[in-house]
Symmetry: D4
Subunit: 154 residues, 8 copies
Amino acid sequence: MAEKSWNVYLSGEIHSDWRERIEAGIREAQLPVQTSAPVTDHAASDDAGTGTLGEEDEGFWRDHKGAGVNAIRTQTLIRDSDVVVVRFGDKYRQWNAAFDAGFAAALGKPVVTLHDGEFDHALKEVDRAAFATARTAEQVVDVLRYVIEGKLPA
Amino acid sequence: MAEKSWNVYLSGEIHSDWRERIEAGIREAQLPVQTSAPVTDHAASDDAGTGTLGEEDEGFWRDHKGAGVNAIRTQTLIRDSDVVVVRFGDKYRQWNAAFDAGFAAALGKPVVTLHDGEFDHALKEVDRAAFATARTAEQVVDVLRYVIEGKLPA
Amino acid sequence: MAEKSWNVYLSGEIHSDWRERIEAGIREAQLPVQTSAPVTDHAASDDAGTGTLGEEDEGFWRDHKGAGVNAIRTQTLIRDSDVVVVRFGDKYRQWNAAFDAGFAAALGKPVVTLHDGEFDHALKEVDRAAFATARTAEQVVDVLRYVIEGKLPA
Amino acid sequence: MAEKSWNVYLSGEIHSDWRERIEAGIREAQLPVQTSAPVTDHAASDDAGTGTLGEEDEGFWRDHKGAGVNAIRTQTLIRDSDVVVVRFGDKYRQWNAAFDAGFAAALGKPVVTLHDGEFDHALKEVDRAAFATARTAEQVVDVLRYVIEGKLPA
Amino acid sequence: MAEKSWNVYLSGEIHSDWRERIEAGIREAQLPVQTSAPVTDHAASDDAGTGTLGEEDEGFWRDHKGAGVNAIRTQTLIRDSDVVVVRFGDKYRQWNAAFDAGFAAALGKPVVTLHDGEFDHALKEVDRAAFATARTAEQVVDVLRYVIEGKLPA
Amino acid sequence: MAEKSWNVYLSGEIHSDWRERIEAGIREAQLPVQTSAPVTDHAASDDAGTGTLGEEDEGFWRDHKGAGVNAIRTQTLIRDSDVVVVRFGDKYRQWNAAFDAGFAAALGKPVVTLHDGEFDHALKEVDRAAFATARTAEQVVDVLRYVIEGKLPA
Amino acid sequence: MAEKSWNVYLSGEIHSDWRERIEAGIREAQLPVQTSAPVTDHAASDDAGTGTLGEEDEGFWRDHKGAGVNAIRTQTLIRDSDVVVVRFGDKYRQWNAAFDAGFAAALGKPVVTLHDGEFDHALKEVDRAAFATARTAEQVVDVLRYVIEGKLPA
Amino acid sequence: MAEKSWNVYLSGEIHSDWRERIEAGIREAQLPVQTSAPVTDHAASDDAGTGTLGEEDEGFWRDHKGAGVNAIRTQTLIRDSDVVVVRFGDKYRQWNAAFDAGFAAALGKPVVTLHDGEFDHALKEVDRAAFATARTAEQVVDVLRYVIEGKLPA
């Protein structure tokens, strides 16, 4: 009988290596996890609409067009996921990360937030709707290993 | 036959008078709208957990406790609403506003965002999931009047 | 004990008097029915976005903005309805009427189509998803009276 | 770990080669996409009911019978799909395409519309409910490649 | 505070006085119950389609047309109900009663079956999906009184 | 890319060879269909509860116990199915077949009924909720082949 | 505009006065709350099935019959509720209280648990799924007042 | 064509060998069943939160943190399951088992309870919501074999 493969969506910050660290940890722990994420190439993501469907004069509609194309990816992958990890970093406002957390929570998906303590108060509603709040990418891997294999870190 | 009463939830920024302006506009236009909102008394909102269920030593759990109590209100009112207006201001990170937008969108609720143009790029995913983006509270009232009565501003 | 009030949404053609005829029939038959509809003032409907939220240079986005505002109304009223009547006339392409029918059908709402026999073949998939196909506004009233009061026309 | 295979349903016009062009583009780009569609043999589609379940005298019921059999296919494949592309061409009224778009939208499926600019105004409600509007089959492939692989056209 | 009014749908047999006995019992016990039912005038029910939408030559389509109109009523009222009572008598096959029971069960509605012991074996799957099986209309009233007021018969 | 495998649940009559004929037709046509069904060994089905969980004195509870065990199978397989075929024969009352049809319809599953013309009037509500009504097992295979491969019988 | 009336279901322990204390607090605070509960007359609740539908010889089926009748009430009221309060006392095992909490949580209802600290470890999974954990009936009233009126205790 | 693989979640008691006995029976009967369960290492389960996400001073929050991590596993596996078996033993209060039963029931999952007769009265509501109540692990295997293969024990 085939082992369950877990789909874990990694939402949020795209300017640090937290995804790579989680993926490295998953490989090292040999967890049956398939990760997915939004397009993390910032420039490509900003051009998602105009680069595929043609230019726009107005910034608002240029963004709107791109966000629609990005949402085809993100909403599909969130609906497909077993767990949604949402990372909040110190740059930018990352409202889309919080949006994803709300979207996932309303669908009944377990959300794991990942952020430093400095954001605890600002993120209290998001953290409350989450099933766990981690401080490091390594803790997220520890949570996944426990959730999937029942093993705690040594 | 009774006229439909519209429930409009007003999520987001709590440090400006945008809710009062929308409510004044609704009264002036005599729209059959019932508004609801999170608790907008910042101090009370922060004490929602400890003020009702007892003190906590740790800031994280103090926030967690309060956010749980606040969520009883906010999730219930969002589920009850016909339209969810989400306001993003220039103070604080307002991740809870974006969370509410995602939560509402996943439930199929029409979302109207309300923010200045300076946040257009940062909010593009949220605006794309919304049915309309307004710049002023008065525009929100204009949208509601049109939606309910089919009348445009003179 | 209060009698059930039926919400009937009247989707589709806005250039003939079919809604008025259904509403007159409902009044005459004294049925406990509350009708709702999209904004049927064609000019207002086209200006729904720009008239409330500000001008747009491009026709596509002008329409897009208006359609978003209109959708706040139409999707809310369709979700609130017990029965959705969809009228196809001989003018315009009326793709929004067919869209509403599909939207309502996926939500499990009983759809009644209203159109002439000349469109039978073109509308076969929509008619098949409907619970009834009427030829005249008076037949729709007859269906509603039967559905609500169990009485057939004399 | 297996790569996600995307199910893309291609709804609408059956008298041009847009499906073949999308499928050729998918093959060329080696995208992990499985396409599906209604039965596109017009004559077979019209005979779907009578050809399998026996003749009918009346045209309306002949169509009705066929549309029921076709709906077993189309509704199942739309429910199974990740993305629904809906093509509107210049022939016929294509109300079934708009119906499919409404059906998919109510299920929360990302819809991509594909049509020329001449239909922009008539399709504004459908386009607003869609996540993207493309002008050519090649743009649809570009959108799919970006959505799946995060790559924009060179 | 307003007392909850319970909607009870009475499905099934139309050739005995079981509905009247339940309704009399509800009145006598002064229960806050609003009953609804399919159209129980057998002749009207058979003519539901042709009497409202025009004649049909073929019996199958005549029935089909009528069943569609009847379903607007029955599916709407079942979706609106708190409890669905389904009566199986000794005449006719009453497949529509069993269909209603299955429909209600899949929606999570509490079903109460009402039938003589002679049908116990034939109805075992339906009874298992029900929350209670009654032998008499009076027992149904006793169940409703207990459910609503917590009172058992003296 | 893997071809979609269709799950077809075969509900109803267990005293004729209609399932074998459908399965033979599927094999002959080499359709990618996986069939499932209730337990069709009548004696085993009647003993489903007492044969696994221990004897019961009372007939009603013996049936109840068995029906619960059978429902684990039937409800799971219906939820897993793409299409539900429901056969009504001339023996027994087959209320469970009609129950399955109602259960499947409420879940949005396409239902195909299979029965002789003599039951048309008694089954009109069930047939109306179905997407197709077949007279022979071979017609069901023809429908499946068309639905899956788009091919009509020669 | 009418104030929202909150439906609060009070599940669990039936051998102490916690419900009366909550209801007294609601009255005193003049909150727009309508409470509901399972039948709290222990003897009546145990006889719910046999007292309405006739005697049973076997204890298991006697309980089964009663539990079915009770479930008509409890599941309906939980589905109708905005908030579900679940009380765990020191007597009996109260598995039905935990069952109600799980049922409510899966439906997305905000759950508030009410129990002494001695059960914290045993109830940790239930408390985690809850939005708040109270120690006294008065705290539940404080939570409801804050949730509804935004006011903290003095 | 691939045989359906059944996912069976084994909830409840972790201090006896009932899971091993069910799994041994499944292997012996060569059933296509994949079992899953909560983490059954009691110490690990208690440390699920602090062992992965860092220590806590307060017992309540230590439990809360752990229960959140455990819920990522249990809610995901229950949502993935075809059948949920819930075991109640004589140690501890096992409110989480009853919670899982309620959660599964609200999702429409067939629940099988497993417990001795001494708990029949205390578990009557849970047993009523279940599709079957077994006394031994072997009976659960018998039920699964019958459900999957239609075979009763010799």
